[in-house]
């Protein structure tokens, strides 16, 4: 809670500083700003609660510890860019699950990244546009008071600026479309879908389509319904932002934990292995098994055995075999 409030404060200060104490702040975007602030608060709150769970806390500690491990640090840091590239940006692991799902996810991911990159700075008042001198057709992008880039209003750059959100909406809609098609056509997807999956898709759809309608209204309908659409769009965006920390999209913050897992498993592999008490085969690292055996009692599980130490010292194969042996012994050979 405290962290959430703190983070919200920090953002507020950054907004204030970045917008020249609200000099460049666009009051039309105030609603959005409140949405963002709530989003930051809720996300940080949810994130810290998540991090306090024993397995999560242990993983986080181990991840950082492993990253900094003197012997592994060099390799870890060297591989960091490619790990981020492959796991967080290209998301190649999704391709191994399904190519179409990967394509859809990439479209939505990059659409959202583009949208966030454009809207958050604008909302915060960090960036604004200023006409250059008296030229009606020439504008400059400014970060606080620093001019970054000048462009002609009829040029390609201008089109890109003004339509960045349209592009991101099209990307997201394409991704949502592919996901929806899967959900309508593939029996497996139909069977496993949960309400939260559809809610996330519906949210993305609503934000993108209302945003696009704004452009349609402005470009082709001479501004008809513009203010209504404007409110509607703002509403979807704000609701969407509030939904993120509590719904399916929270995975955006969880996924980077996978980097920690990578470093953790590297450290674990570098250390001694855990051999199975029944078959003698190595099946895990002592590091991770030690962590588990500490975490389990914290969570209220007691797999300790009197004579044999810990049930968790058996490999998964031998657990399955052991249960089968126990059951067939219990029925005297045959049920």
């Amino acid at each position: 809670m405290v962290r959430g409030l703190l983070a919200t404060g920090v953002v507020l200060i950054m907004v204030a500083a970045g917008s020249g104490w609200f000099r460049w702040f666009d009051t039309a975007l105030a609603g959005y700003l409140f949405g963002v602030l709530f989003f930051v608060f809720a996300s940080v709150y949810r994130y810290s609660v998540w991090l306090q769970r024993p397995p999560t806390a242990r993983l986080r500690a181990r991840g950082w510890q492993a990253l900094r491990d003197p012997q592994l640090r060099r390799g870890n840091l060297r591989s960091l860019p490619s790990l981020i590239g492959a796991n967080l940006l290209a998301q190649s692991f999704i391709r191994h699950r399904s190519t179409t799902r990967w394509l859809a996810h990439q479209l939505i991911f990059w659409g959202c990244v583009l949208a966030v990159a454009v809207t958050f700075p604008l909302t915060f008042g960090w960036f604004h546009f200023r006409s250059v001198g008296q030229q009606v057709s020439r504008y400059e992008v400014q970060f606080t008071e620093i001019g970054l880039l000048q462009f002609d209003i009829g040029g390609v750059v201008a089109w890109m600026f003004f339509h960045a959100l349209d592009i991101s909406a099209v990307l997201v809609l394409a991704g949502v479309g592919i996901f929806l098609l899967r959900r309508l056509r593939e029996p497996g997807a139909i069977a496993t879908q949960r309400a939260s999956d559809n809610l996330a898709l519906a949210g993305l759809f609503a934000v993108s389509i209302t945003g696009l309608m704004l452009t349609v209204s402005h470009q082709f309908l001479e501004g008809a319904f513009y203010s209504f659409l404007n409110v509607l769009h703002a509403l979807t965006v704000v609701l969407g932002l509030m939904y993120i920390p509590f719904g399916k999209l929270f995975h955006i913050f969880q996924r980077p934990g996978n980097l920690g897992v990578t470093f953790y498993s590297r450290a674990a592999e570098a250390g001694p292995g855990q051999t199975c008490a029944r078959c003698g085969q190595e099946f895990a690292s002592q590091l991770q098994m030690g962590d588990l055996k500490e975490i389990l009692p914290q969570l209220g599980y007691h797999y300790e055995t009197d004579a044999q130490g810990n049930y968790q010292d058996l490999c998964p194969n031998c657990r399955r075999a052991g249960v089968a042996l126990a059951q067939s012994t219990a029925v005297g050979g045959f049920g």
Partner: protein
């Protein structure tokens, strides 16, 4: 000279077996299922019901068929993955002719006309019987009927036989001799009512997995389980009495049990008196077979033999199930008769929970021998040597009895005849002798000696590598028809798709050949339904009487047990309720002496060799060696041996070993397991070429059934070295 045009490696490269892993287009193809077709599995004589999913004229998946009473949705891994044979890259879609440079596509006219002209040339030069025909029991009954008719009326040769000859003919002959009819006496629904189940030489868990549940149901009701096998197979593992006999000693074991039944007076005297002949002679033959004597012969402890007699003899009901383990012997018929004697002595016929049944192995193992493709039988399971039977069939066919050739040579005998020049040409359908005949070197020599060799098949099998012409036929799911299951239940096979490319339905190919051979009046049928109607007519009044069956009835009633003489007859699930099928209505207890197998161990070849199957493969593997997940389950043949035997030869699990018999040798990894007798090694036979277990087997035949002795040979083993590569995980 029917030699393969290219090396085996080149042929395999082009024609497979390649592995198919996924439905057409891959798992993510998102195919719309257009329809679901209720039919049966292509593999094994149980013919489990299955529903096939179809998209774009391709079978792309399955769904359990809960409504079929035999299996109620249950399937083994072969059934689950059977759909992967459709849309397979190895599928033959064009007729082929062999050239020196390999097989070349040809027109149907070219291959059919060449086949006809070669048949006529060979017959005019060497006599009508110089052209042989070998058919198979995985075909629908319509196809098997046509093959018999094609050989006898189209080609005009006596020499037609089928691969059931390699399967269960010993059981067929034994049943006919003792009971007067060749069919399982009781339906499987009787098994759960048995108070004792005796599994004799049947690896049910791997070769008839669905039957397991019937036995488990009997055990749930308190039944005892006896298993006789040289290996502790998965059913034997928990048996109440395991008889781990030495290969080839079955008659001593069953004889000793019969003697114990007599000694302990565990006989059904009323049944024996009223319904059988021959108890005195049968008893006399086993009089010397004491448990101690049998222990010496079989290696089974005398106490277990006594225990088996008690377990089998005491209860009021009991079923004995046997399979290739007792049938694949040079005395296979004697083994079967010995088992039947155990059933007759205790009155286990014609009642619920009773019966001595063979578990047929092939898809149409039962039906495939009933309608006239067996060298000694005519349609309706009639005897070809019986003048009355000949006259009945001749009348139905509209020919003179003399127009029907007499009994021809059996499968292996035809290969002998090829080698000595009596047979010069061969037409083969639905069989793969290069894998499934004993003594592979002999089989290869025979095929290479053929002047002309035509093959009808859907894949280019290792045998078809030798073919002059290959006629691409139809898969199980590409043509309608009927099959008769191990139970004697005739069921309807439905077509899910049509043959791809220029492949044709087998019935169309066979009828086309018949017409081109100048027998148009006998092959005027248009498709399998008309063939089935002819079978009904021709089998009328025969033993396997299908006259009362219609395709519609078969579907509506989930199959019908023959005999079914009229359309209002319900079929006959349980036989012999009132009388046996001999003219006097009585069964025969025939005396069964014990004798050694044809080849016994000696100093040079000191180890017993036996062969069999694994659950993930079907017969010669022509279909199942092309299905990725099934090969993954058991990738290559392994030689099972006991740790005591292995240690004598310094062999560790996974080591490469050479197994040598008088006929050949094979190099395979060892699987060192305590589940096999220490004096015996086992190799499954589904593979071809240098992996063929039949390179070692003995081509000696049972004098009555003409079945080869696959289950016993003498070998020696040598360690070659450590594993050459990661050994195929034999784990399931």
């Amino acid at each position: 000279m029917a030699r393969p045009p290219l090396s085996d490696a080149e042929l395999v490269e082009r024609y497979g077996p390649h592995l198919n892993w996924e439905p057409p287009g891959g798992w993510d193809a998102g195919l719309e299922i257009e329809r679901e077709v209720d039919t049966h599995c292509a593999f094994c004589g149980q013919q489990c019901g299955i529903t096939l999913k179809v998209a774009n004229n391709s079978v792309v998946g399955f769904e359990p068929r809960y409504d079929f009473p035999f299996n109620e949705g249950k399937l083994c891994p072969k059934g689950v993955k059977r759909y992967l044979q459709g849309g397979h890259p190895d599928r033959l879609t064009e007729p082929l002719q062999r050239t020196e440079a390999g097989f070349r596509d040809a027109t149907w006219d070219a291959v059919l006309d060449r086949t006809v002209s070669e048949i006529r040339r060979i017959q005019s030069e060497h006599g009508p019987d110089a052209f042989g025909v070998i058919s198979g029991s995985s075909l629908t009954t319509e196809k098997t009927y046509l093959m018999g008719k094609l050989a006898r009326l189209g080609i005009g040769t006596a020499n037609i036989d089928y691969n059931g000859r390699l399967c269960m003919v010993s059981a067929a002959a034994g049943n006919k001799k003792a009971l007067g009819m060749d069919r399982a006496p009781n339906p499987w629904s009787d098994i759960p009512h048995a108070q004792v189940v005796f599994v004799a030489g049947a690896n049910i868990a791997e070769c008839a997995p669905i039957t397991t549940d019937y036995i488990w149901r009997a055990r749930d009701r308190g039944a005892k389980l006896i298993v006789a096998d040289p290996r502790v197979n998965p059913l034997a593992r928990t048996a109440d009495c395991f008889l781990g006999l030495r290969p080839g000693t079955d008659t001593a074991l069953y004889g000793a049990i019969l003697r114990e039944l007599i000694q302990r007076d565990l006989l059904d005297h009323d049944f024996i008196e009223q319904r059988t002949h021959g108890i005195a002679e049968a008893a006399a033959a086993v009089d010397h077979m004491t448990p101690k004597w049998a222990e010496g012969v079989t290696g089974v402890p005398a106490s277990r033999i006594e225990q088996a007699a008690e377990l089998w003899g005491r209860p009021a009901t009991g079923m004995l199930l046997h399979a290739r383990g007792i049938e694949h012997h040079s005395k296979g018929v004697q083994n079967v008769l010995a088992c039947i004697n155990l059933g007759l002595a205790t009155g286990r016929y014609g009642k619920p929970g009773c019966g001595v049944c063979t578990i047929t192995g092939q898809g149409n193992g039962q039906g495939g021998r009933e309608q006239g493709q067996k060298s000694d039988q005519l349609p309706g399971a009639r005897d070809i040597g019986n003048p009355d039977h000949r006259a009945e069939v001749a009348a139905a066919w509209g020919v003179e009895p003399d127009d029907i050739p007499q009994e021809g040579l059996s499968y292996e005998e035809q290969f002998d005849a090829i080698l000595d020049g009596r047979i010069r040409g061969l037409l083969l359908i639905c069989s793969n002798p290069m894998v499934s005949l004993p003594d592979t070197a002999k089989t290869r020599a025979a095929l290479e000696k053929l002047e002309f060799f035509a093959v009808i098949d859907f894949f280019l099998t290792e045998s078809a590598f030798h073919a002059d012409v290959v006629l691409p036929g139809s898969l199980h799911e590409e043509e309608e028809g009927v099959v008769t299951t191990a139970e004697g239940r005739c069921v309807k096979i439905n077509a899910a798709v049509s043959p791809p490319g220029n492949a044709r339905r087998d019935t169309d190919i066979i009828c086309d050949l018949g017409r081109r051979l100048g027998a148009g009046q006998h092959f005027a049928m248009d498709g399998p339904r008309e063939v089935f109607e002819e079978i009904r007519r021709v089998s009328r009044g025969g033993v396997a009487d299908y006259a009362g069956m219609t395709w519609e009835r078969l579907e509506a009633e989930q199959g019908i047990f023959w005999p079914c003489p009229t359309e209002d007859h319900p079929g006959t699930p349980r036989l012999y309720e009132r009388s046996f099928a001999h003219a006097d209505g009585k069964a025969r207890m025939l005396p069964v002496e014990h004798r050694d197998p044809a080849e016994v161990v000696d100093d040079e070849y000191p180890i017993w060799y036996t062969t069999g199957r694994v659950v993930s493969q079907y017969l010669s593997g022509a279909q199942t060696r092309r299905i990725g997940p099934l090969i993954e389950q058991y990738p290559e043949p392994l030689c099972e041996m006991h740790p005591r035997l292995a240690s004598v030869h310094g062999i560790a699990d996974g080591d490469l070993v050479r197994v040598v018999s008088r006929r050949g040798s094979i190099e395979v990894p060892a699987q060192v397991v305590e589940s096999i007798r220490p004096d015996t090694v086992f190799i499954p036979y589904h593979w071809a070429g240098h992996k063929a277990a039949n390179q070692l087997t003995n081509p000696v035949l049972d004098p009555i059934s003409k079945i080869p002795e696959y289950k016993v040979a003498a070998v020696r083993i040598e360690r070659i070295g450590p594993p050459q590569r990661p050994v195929g995980q034999a784990a399931p």
